[in-house]
């Protein structure tokens, strides 16, 4: 097997006195679809926020394509990463948020174009075409000149996914992307994720409460409990063969 695209090595994270993650070791391979499940407050979201550089680990290393994300070399010594280093290493990572976080002062199309143009310095016309194609793919080709405030929650989240994919990430992070949606809008968002999982070769990490969906599309499932990865493996292994009692009782809550 090839070198993993992301490696967590003994990663700890505390917020004040609260220890959220207590030693995470995890490999994510190129193209792998990983579902992170577990009770609220188990640290699921924190795992991917650290990879997106939105939270800094208290200790441990996160290696992205062979580079240490949060540390860099300076005069032969290992020091805390500066912004330049973070930008270099996180360039292949994209993220979709629970609350969409679309830019409200830009149209849907501008939301999808601003980063490729300003961050990756790509050609405006090429980006525009790619963004329109992507918006058509998520079913919003007729909304490109609308503002986010004119869209439903499900539509907003589909734009957010298009915006992230237009940057061509190698790793996409999904942070409870259906949790803020009305139940009848969840399906259309999951549809897009399924489409991405089947047709894009990027790695995907989904933090989710949509259990059946996650188990359906994931190559690997992580069960996070009290800050550690209590169980990991293929969906089938984790669900059907795990002896972990807390996992079984967690799963049973999702089965009527």
């Amino acid at each position: 097997m090839t070198e993993p695209i992301v490696q967590y090595r003994d990663v700890y994270k505390s917020f004040g006195d609260v220890k959220v993650l207590k030693g995470i070791n995890l490999d994510i391979h190129a193209g792998e679809k990983v579902a992170v499940i577990g009770p609220s407050g188990s640290g699921k979201t924190t795992i991917i926020r650290m990879l997106m550089t939105l939270e800094e680990p208290t200790s441990g290393d996160i290696i992205v394509s062979g580079e240490n994300l949060w540390k860099m070399e300076k005069n032969g010594k290992e020091v805390r990463a500066n912004e330049k280093h973070l930008r270099k290493v996180r360039g292949d990572i994209g993220m979709v948020f629970q609350h969409f976080n679309l830019f409200p002062h830009m149209t849907i199309l501008e939301n999808c174009m601003t980063a490729p143009i300003h961050v990756k310095k790509e050609d405006k016309h090429e980006v525009r075409e790619r963004a329109i194609q992507m918006l058509e793919r998520v079913g919003l080709g007729d909304k490109i000149d609308n503002y986010p405030s004119q869209l439903s929650g499900g539509q907003k989240q589909r734009v957010a996914m298009a915006r992230a994919v237009v940057m061509r990430p190698k790793i996409m992070l999904f942070d409870e992307v259906t949790s803020a949606l009305d139940p009848e809008l969840v399906g259309e968002v999951l549809e897009v994720i399924r489409d991405l999982a089947q047709h894009e070769d990027m790695a995907m990490v989904l933090v989710t409460h949509e259990m059946d969906f996650a188990l359906d599309i994931a190559d690997k499932v992580l069960f996070l409990d009290e800050g550690v990865i209590a169980e990991q493996g293929s969906a089938r292994d984790v669900i059907e063969h795990s002896q972990n009692e807390r996992l079984q009782s967690f799963l049973s809550r999702f089965r009527a």
Binding site: M52, I93, M95, P104, H105, A115, H118, V119, S149
Partner: protein, 216 residues
């Protein structure tokens, strides 16, 4: 009616002082508002001193300081009366407006900055492309309100000998006391007419602010 053309002679000063001091105030507001968010403690503290001094003392006294006290103490003339009026009003309202700038920037939802980070923007790009445009929308109504206040404060420059509408009104009254009610009535109307476009702009600003900013 002699009053209206007489008072109208002061319009030029009132309007130019309004425009110049408002521009100066806006400029200072952005400089001081951004400085207050700087990572550098010294810059933050120095800006805080400026803001608190000019917010915490009276505009008339500031005007008299610049006009009477500083030339006496340091032997320097800051400029013509017109400039002194503009500088005093600009410094004063710049201090107030810097708080509007600062609080609007802080009020932009944290998720906006996070989404920009997830698109690999630098901190400067986050500010320029995402945070600042939304913060400006939130600032617009307050900027409108303060500009109306600036208009009314320009009447203070008659106290340092500038010939604005109030100055000309006072002159008529001192020579013809019976005209007092009509003189001040005309002046009120003048200020109100000048304020109308500002009031309209403030309304416009409120409408723009309502759409297009994610506040936490």
């Amino acid at each position: 009616m002699e009053v209206i053309p007489q008072v109208a002679k002061g319009l030029q000063v009132t309007i130019t002082v309004l425009l110049a001091s408002a521009l100066l105030a806006y400029l200072l507001a952005f400089v001081a508002g951004l400085s207050k968010l700087s990572n550098n403690v010294l810059i933050r503290k120095a800006t805080g001193v400026y803001v608190e001094i000019f917010r915490g003392t009276s505009l008339i006294v500031q005007l008299f300081w610049l006009y009477y006290a500083i030339p006496m103490l340091f032997g320097i003339q800051l400029g013509t009366n017109w400039w002194i009026g503009v500088i005093a009003i600009g410094l004063n309202y710049g201090a107030y407006l810097s708080e509007v700038v600062r609080s609007s920037i802080v009020a932009v939802d944290k998720g906006q900055s996070e989404a920009a980070t997830a698109l690999n923007m630098s901190s400067f790009q986050r500010m320029r492309l995402i945070i600042f445009p939304q913060a400006v929308r939130m600032m617009l109504p307050e900027f409108g309100n303060y500009t109306i206040l600036i208009l009314k404060s320009t009447s203070l420059v008659s106290l340092i000998g500038l010939h604005d509408v109030l100055y000309y009104g006072d002159i008529i009254r001192s020579t013809n006391a019976s005209a007092t009610p009509i003189v001040y009535g005309v002046i009120l109307v003048f200020y109100f007419i000048l304020a109308l476009p500002l009031i309209w702009m403030t309304r416009k600003g409120e409408a723009i602010a309502k759409k297009g900013a994610a506040s936490s």
